[in-house]
Amino acid sequence: MEFKDYYKTLGIERTATADEIKSAYRKLARKHHPDVNKEPGAEARFKELGEAYEVLKDTEKRAAYDDLGNRWREGQEFTPPPEWGAGFEFTQGGASATEAADFSDFFSSLFGNFSRHAESTHTRGEDHHAKIFIPLEDAFRGGTQTLTLRAPQVNAQGRPELRERSLNVQIPNGVREGQHIRLAGQGAPGITGTSPGDLYLEIHFHPHKLYQVQGRDLSLLLPIAPWEAALGATAKAPTPSGVVEVKIPPGSRSGRKLRLKGRGIPGEPAGDLYLILEVVLPPADSERAQEIYHTMAQELAFNPRQTLGV
């Protein structure tokens, strides 16, 4: 395990005052809060900030941490010294067991033992939450996803440690982004004899290479040839439930939407699939192709900039 420099995480000096720590944390937390910042990595950064602040805002923990900080540097291999914790009695406060579970192994190895108190106030195990990313196809056909979760468990020494466990979860068809699957009894274990909490899985789709998802509706960019757009045609289009033939009305333009009712995510009612037409030009990469373009230029009195008055 690596030593973490909490001062560096918050971008402050080791001599920073309590006010400086608070203001550095608040500024960074605002910027990296996962609800505010959708950049990948924001959530991880926010957790690091929370962990650093959890230690440095608390005079007891900060003093204990500073004591170590004189001996270790950021990134150095770290094992808690044998006498660790002997001189300190941490008062419970701050992060709950669930929040602390998100903190690093480094944090748990140092301060892990204080979070036990938090749980005893609950009459049953806490509910846990996790996000699950599934392929869009699962919403059509259903499926099984295996997910690996890290959850805190109290070890033989009485300290919570993060333990990995795998779950196989059935994904019912018709699920949509933002819905949750609740697994009864899969949350935190209850304390002596009380029932465990539930596990909520928030559904997200992996980005799909063809379809965009909006609620229960899907959209697909459908490329068509100029003559299909101009004259109308029957064209093949993929849908998650198989290839279909669609009628392109004559005089179609790029951006025109065709709605395939009920071809979106199944359910009552099922969503729709929108085909967004995109006229693509054949390349003028042969003599014959160039000839055809020349003929069009000569024989069609067409000014695409007419509406601009030029």
């Binding site: 605002r30 609800d35 509910d127 466990r165 196989n168 949509r176 819905q179 697994l183 899969q186």
Partner: protein, 109 residues
């Protein structure tokens, strides 16, 4: 690591309102009173005439958990967090529309 065993089958929390006030509060690690306040300021819209028969759906769970995080992490009042929630939702809708028109930020940056 433990090996996966049985396939777990859960309940889908979706558009159908299934969560009671106690269940929602517990899922947010909060008290029922806090849920009542969220309903009072219109952040949550349960079905049912009385507190005891209120039923919440997936969107309520997402909103409530977000409110809990915003309040906790920014030390924000209920109203301030609700305003943030509103703005965040607007940004998300705008992002979704950009994405639909192929102008999503990931591709342009």
């Amino acid at each position: 690591m433990e090996q996966p065993q049985d396939i777990l089958i859960g309940t889908v929390i979706g558009d159908e309102s299934v969560l009671s006030i106690e269940e929602l509060a517990r899922a947010c690690g909060a008290e029922s009173q806090w849920i009542i306040e969220l309903v009072a300021i219109g952040v949550l819209e349960p079905e049912g005439p009385e507190t005891s028969t209120w039923r919440f759906h997936a969107a309520d769970l997402t909103c409530a958990r977000r409110m809990a995080r915003l309040q906790r992490d920014f030390d924000a009042s209920l109203d301030a967090a609700a305003a943030m929630l509103e703005l965040l939702e607007q940004i998300e809708q705008l992002r979704a529309r950009l994405k639909q028109t192929g102008l999503d930020m990931e591709r342009t940056t």
